[in-house]
């Protein structure tokens, strides 16, 4: 069994390696890949490392967007001052992924390509309207992060393509209010039992507009909670409105029972955490944790 290791420094060369060798697999931080090797799910023969491709690194700010390199690690994104200033909930989301070692090596692009439905980044990036630039032998295409996975561990990219950048709309005026609620009734380094991301704008009259809600760990991929968002759109966040939001979430999600919770429990918590996420947006609490409760509540 031949094994090869390539570290191309040119994106075109990397694409050629993928095109010419059907066994070639990409490796970013390697966290998920080496884990799969350790448990026997994967025996790569030819690996193409992305660590030499400079165009996949860096965080860039323009008037209209923040542009994140696919090879940026969760630690770097958690500590990026530009991202934190504009979308603090996104920076907090990156800082809450797994543990420090996973964050130091795991990359945003690798995370999106892994497509585990319990992951954090796709949920937050969906409500921010982010899209991934995917480059392949036929050129590049833009894929909304919400559409980057077809199912669990099934990314919507071919084995000849590379996720290069992730672009988040970020107009300078009237930024979205954001929150990311990661419900962890077990240990803090675990995947979420359920997670909810919220983004919205609040008018001077107290009515909410441009509402986006998304759920993680509540379906085979990120669930865009559209009917719940519609309950809020144009309304004030009164108790009866928030009740209907939770009801809409419970109806839309389709969680599976596993060691993190039963399907019924996750369904109930998804509704509750959505309410917390909305309040988190309005009260400037990006993690959605009510101020009367402690860490982990």
């Amino acid at each position: 069994m031949s094994q090869r290791w390539h570290v191309p420094t040119d994106l075109g060369h990397a694409l050629d390696l993928l095109r010419d060798d059907e066994d070639a697999v990409l490796i970013a931080g390697g966290v998920s890949m080496v884990l799969f090797m350790n448990v026997g799910f994967l025996q790569p023969t030819d690996m193409v490392s992305l660590s030499g491709l400079r165009e996949l690194f860096g965080v860039r700010r323009t008037d209209a967007e923040i542009d994140l390199g696919a090879m940026e690690t969760h630690t770097r994104l958690a500590t990026d001052q530009v991202l934190r200033a504009i979308y603090p909930a996104a920076a907090d989301m990156f800082s809450g992924i797994a543990n420090i070692r996973v964050r130091n090596w795991g990359t945003l692009g690798g995370n999106l390509a892994h497509a585990d439905p319990a992951q954090d980044p796709p949920v937050m990036l969906t409500v921010l309207g982010a899209s991934a630039e995917v480059v392949g032998p036929d050129g590049s295409r833009s894929v909304p992060v919400a559409e980057l996975a077809d199912g669990p561990l099934t990314p919507n990219i071919t084995d000849k393509e590379i996720i290069t950048r992730i672009k988040i709309p970020a107009p300078s005026d009237d930024p979205l209010r954001t929150a990311y609620v990661k419900f962890l009734p077990g240990t803090k380094d675990d995947y979420a039992t359920v997670s909810i991301a919220a983004a919205l704008r609040c008018g001077a009259d107290g009515r909410l507009t441009d509402v986006r809600l998304a759920g993680g760990s509540v379906g085979p991929t990120v669930v865009a909670l559209e009917s719940a968002a519609q309950c809020l759109e144009g309304h004030k966040p009164d108790p009866d409105v928030l009740s209907s939001v939770a009801e809409a979430v419970r109806e839309q999600v389709n969680p599976r029972s596993d060691r993190r919770g039963s399907a019924d429990y996750k369904r109930e918590m998804a509704g509750l955490m959505t309410q917390r996420a909305v309040r988190g947006c309005l009260e400037g609490r990006p993690d959605g944790i009510p101020s009367s409760q402690g860490v982990g509540a």
């Binding site: 069994m1 080496v34 350790n38 630690t75 380094d189």
Partner: protein, 168 residues
């Protein structure tokens, strides 16, 4: 139980990759199969057995080493990925004079019982100490940082007390 394949013998079809990295301050060169894990090179080629194999899925922290000063799961890192980098294991932390205070704290506070997690705990804390961060951290921040280092014996109290006692 590890399914990591052993290093392949060299053949035209399976070239070993030449890598070089600094390990505990020494520059070393190796020829490794691409799928060889860093932990395997550390323990087997270098006899640096202070770093332990635990869960092999990145959760327990027993395999923690520093790569360019950053906490790293050596069981989830390929040796080829540290080419050109600076690697430090538990055996290489003592060259920093302030590490002694952390070590003594572990002894004084009962931070170690069976010892299996101890290397990883010390490396994780040393990462903070070497960046001048540890002495400034609150108990809550220390606990937060150590979430990825599991201990089945001590209940963590001694480890956290030892970390808090560090003044620089």
């Amino acid at each position: 139980m590890s399914v990591n394949p052993p290093a392949l013998s060299e053949s035209p079809d399976s070239p070993l990759v030449s890598i070089s990295f600094t390990i505990n301050g020494l520059d070393r060169e190796f020829r490794v199969a691409p799928t060889r894990r860093l932990i395997s090179v550390l323990r087997e080629e270098l006899s640096l057995t202070g770093t332990k194999i635990g869960c092999e899925v990145g959760i327990c922290g027993a395999c923690t080493v520093l790569v360019d000063g950053d906490s790293t799961s050596s069981c989830l890192t390929l040796a080829v990925q540290v080419d050109g980098r600076d690697v430090r294991t538990i055996e290489g932390l003592g060259e920093s004079p302030e590490f002694a205070s952390l070590q003594n704290g572990f002894l004084e506070q009962g931070a170690s019982q069976c010892g299996f997690c101890t290397s990883g705990q010390l490396v994780a804390l040393a990462a903070l100490q070497r960046r001048g961060q540890l002495a400034k951290m609150s108990r809550e921040q220390i606990v937060e940082h150590l979430h990825g280092n599991l201990c089945r014996c001590t209940g963590y109290y001694g480890i956290v007390r030892a970390a808090e006692a560090v003044e620089s």
